[in-house]
């Protein structure tokens, strides 16, 4: 398999996963805002924070009202919005058309054209939710199509690597949301008593799970009411939930094992696995989760670096 092709299918899968996750996040976030009591100082800017695009948004000089944020994340040509991400999925697919199943390319092409049409101009709140759901379904169809039509060869390995790296990264971001580090102002204006926040804390953690389609699986698995400890442990350490960091890392390891010259990449994956497994969630929740997640994200990025160094074309 050509190094260049490996890189492109890897990015195709990463962007595809990113599109799906961004759509989930926006959808859940809109719903969360409806659940929180009026007066909560949780603004749309949080969505920008989670996506890690503060700098880019600030550069536009716009205020962080719903309309601006949504447009920024949905339809602008800025390399970040859902539409831009889908365009990159398509561009990477277009340059590797000869090796991905042709029905998959047709699907990608179709999604992009469809979303481009629907996201042009003003999008109302209800239309937006439908659109986001449509994107999620389409992305999953495509993932399923790739699963069903593509031989489990090197192409498949690089697609999986892209998918699981992106997913692991996104899950850490979403844990960040719940951890409160991004929602310091959940304390309501008229209430100072910590306990009275609890129903909203639960709402928050439920939203976190929902954004990863994990609520149902969590309930089946944990059998306890939604609480911070268990949710964070579930999202970081559960070995069976396909969006947990541990699960993603395990799949990554499987892919890397099937490739030659893999020792450096494997070492990095093992390091991250160790750090996830050994995390003391309870302690971190009382202090240091923010820093821990930050470090984790850097280490996950380190896996990408090793993958790129080992198998992609050297960039000159």
């Amino acid at each position: 398999m050509l190094s260049r092709v490996a890189e492109r299918v890897y990015w195709m899968a990463r962007y595809l996963e990113r599109a799906e996750n961004t759509a989930r996040l926006m959808n859940v976030y809109s719903n969360l805002l409806l659940d929180l009591p009026r007066g909560t100082k949780v603004g749309w800017h949080t969505l920008i924070d989670i996506s890690g695009v503060n700098k880019e948004f600030a550069a536009t000089g716009r205020s962080d009202d719903e309309r601006s944020v949504v447009r920024f994340l949905l339809s602008e040509q800025n390399g970040i919005s859902l539409l831009s991400v889908l365009a990159m999925v398509r561009e990477n697919a277009r340059t590797t058309r000869e090796i991905i199943p042709s029905e998959a390319f047709e699907q990608i092409n179709d999604i992009y054209l469809n979303i481009r049409e629907k996201s042009a101009g003003q999008v109302s709140r209800s239309a937006r939710n439908l659109l986001l759901e449509e994107i999620i379904v389409h992305c999953q169809q495509l993932t399923g199509m790739l699963e069903g039509c593509l031989s489990h060869n090197h192409v498949h390995r690089f697609i999986e690597m892209g998918r699981y790296l992106e997913r692991a990264d996104m899950t850490t971001r979403i844990v960040d949301v719940g951890s409160g580090s991004l929602l310091p102002d959940l304390n309501l204006d008229n209430k100072t008593d910590g306990d009275s926040n609890e129903p909203y804390q639960d709402t928050l953690w439920m939203s976190v799970l929902r954004s990863l389609s994990g609520y149902q699986m969590y309930r089946q698995n944990v059998k306890d009411r939604v609480n911070a400890d268990d949710v964070v442990a579930f999202l970081l350490q559960d070995s069976e939930f396909p969006r947990s960091v541990a699960f993603c890392l395990e799949r990554l390891k499987g892919c890397i094992n099937g490739l030659s010259d893999n020792s450096r990449a494997l070492r990095q994956v093992r390091k991250v696995v160790r750090n996830t497994r050994q995390a003391q969630i309870k302690e971190l929740l009382s202090d240091g989760l923010f820093q821990y997640i930050d470090d984790l994200q850097v280490e996950i990025a380190g896996i990408h670096d090793q993958v790129a160094k080992t198998w992609f074309l050297p960039h000159t």
């Binding site: 398999m1 190094s3 490996a6 000869e98 047709e106 092409n109 074309l313």
Partner: protein
């Protein structure tokens, strides 16, 4: 819209479908009556279905500009063009004969040069050609084949006979559209296929792979064949990727290849892997920056040396374009006689060579009746359409011809035949040509039919997709 044949009138031109208004040609009768039988909304539904299919299948060609890339959908008309098999069999033989002679000619130019010594073609004409590559002198590619893939443009004049308009021996494109046109027609008009025995076109990628594999220097079972593309910004990128996909070959860019010890390798995730045959879709001058254009980033350093040493097969061979010069074209009937001792099966369009004083005089005196073409342009650029040109344009061209007569040839305005397209309200006649593809190495193969290109604008003769041309599915039909 309903299809009404009574008002379909191609005038004095040869029409592929009807012999006179209201009378279908024998091979087209079932097509004509089928289209007539369609209900109004059905006609427009099919038309829409076709354009939707083209959109989702991503059949496109790309026009890139500073303002951004425009990925245009492939313009397609849903009414197929039908050619009777009996007629095609003769045409096909003529194409094969032509390419055989052209390959002998190119091989002769770069080796013994008997054709000059026997005064068939003037030596200067060839050595001064912009497509002559002195670097190729003395090279003997496998089977003496230089042009492995050839696209020859045919037109029908008023007499209804096929004439050769030009040969494309460098990197002819369009074959993927020929294949996709069939796929789309099957999607939108499956009923039509029940009425006809149509020769399938689908085995082209297999034949192409066999042709390429045959020139592998290593005699191994599955030689590594790759398609070398200039990349996504090339207007024919769709085709490059399509052919690679259908052949199961790697689609590579210059940066993927590297030459070591005069052998070509590609960079893979498992390290370097040997490449045996390159179907290159980039021009000669960009192939190897150490030999040709030094600034080329599309090519591969050392590629020519690897080829010269016989360590890699290149299709088409560098230098093959010397024979698709439009002036050289005028000699092809003579070359067929000279190399094969046979009479040409397919006639050329009558042509005048400006490097010949007498003929040049005739051209200059009749600029208002002739089409003048430069020797080395393709895509329909740089031509003078005499009858439609303004006086100023003609004068400017006269100056160009006088300054560089070698670079020009002229032909009388040939009447391209017409075929019906589905217009906004009814079927309407439009001018068409035909580009069949010929493969040659150990064996020869001619596509059954080819790519029918359509000048979508009423009365226009310009069929090039870069200038608004469209296309049709082309059927060779057993009667």
């Amino acid at each position: 819209m309903r299809v009404d044949w009574k008002s379909y009138n191609p005038g004095a031109f040869y029409d592929e479908t009807i012999s006179s208004p209201g009378f279908a040609r024998k091979h087209a009768r079932r097509l004509v009556s089928y289209l007539r039988s369609l209900k109004s909304d059905e006609v427009s539904n099919r038309k829409q279905a076709a354009s939707l299919a083209i959109k989702t299948m991503g059949i496109s060609f790309t026009v890139y500009s500073d303002a951004g890339n425009i990925d245009r959908e492939w313009p397609f008309d849903i009414i197929p063009r039908i050619i009777p098999r009996k007629e095609w069999d003769v045409t096909s033989k003529g194409l094969e004969q032509r390419v055989r002679a052209l390959n002998l000619f190119i091989n002769d130019i770069y080796n013994a040069q008997k054709v000059f010594k026997d005064k068939i073609v003037p030596r200067d004409l060839i050595l001064e050609s912009g497509n002559f590559r002195k670097e190729c002198m003395g090279i003997k590619p496998a089977f003496g084949t230089w042009a492995h893939i050839c696209g020859t443009d045919l037109i029908r004049d008023r007499d209804g006979l096929f004439y050769v308009l030009e040969d494309n021996l460098r990197v002819p494109s369009g074959v993927s559209y020929m294949l996709e046109n069939r796929t789309v027609t099957k999607r939108v008009f499956p009923e039509l296929f029940e009425n006809y025995d149509i020769l399938p076109v689908t085995d082209y990628p297999t034949k192409l792979y066999d042709t390429l594999a045959a020139i592998s220097p290593r005699r191994i079972k599955n030689p590594e064949v790759v398609v070398l593309t200039p990349g996504i910004y090339n207007s024919a990128y769709f085709e490059h990727s399509f052919l690679a996909q259908r052949m199961g070959a790697e689609l590579v860019e210059g940066g993927d290849l590297v030459v070591q010890d005069d052998c070509v390798f590609m960079r893979t995730i498992d390290g370097l892997a040997r490449v045996d045959v390159i179907y290159r879709r980039i021009d000669d001058l960009f192939l190897d920056p150490s030999v040709f254009n030094k600034d080329s980033v599309l090519g591969v350093k050392g590629l020519m040396q690897a080829w010269i040493k016989g360590n890699v097969g290149l299709a088409n061979a560098p230098g093959a374009g010397v024979a698709d010069d439009k002036v050289v074209y005028t000699y092809v009937p003579k070359l067929i006689k000279y190399y094969l001792g046979e009479d040409p099966i397919l006639p050329n369009v009558p042509s005048y060579i400006c490097s010949d004083k007498k003929q040049c005089q005739h051209v200059l005196q009749n600029l208002d009746k002739l089409v003048v073409k430069p020797a080395n342009e393709s895509g329909g650029y740089g031509m003078l359409m005499g009858p439609q040109a303004s006086t100023e344009e003609r004068e400017e061209f006269a100056r160009k011809i006088k300054a560089n007569p070698r670079n020009y040839m002229a032909q009388p305005l040939i009447s391209l035949s017409t075929a019906p397209i589905l217009g906004d309200r009814n079927v309407e006649p439009r001018h068409i040509d035909l580009r069949p593809f010929i493969l040659q190495a150990r064996d020869s193969y001619v596509t059954p039919g080819g790519l029918t290109r359509v000048a979508m604008v009423k009365g226009s003769y310009v069929v090039n997709s870069s200038q608004g041309g469209g296309s049709k599915d082309t059927w060779i039909v057993d009667e």
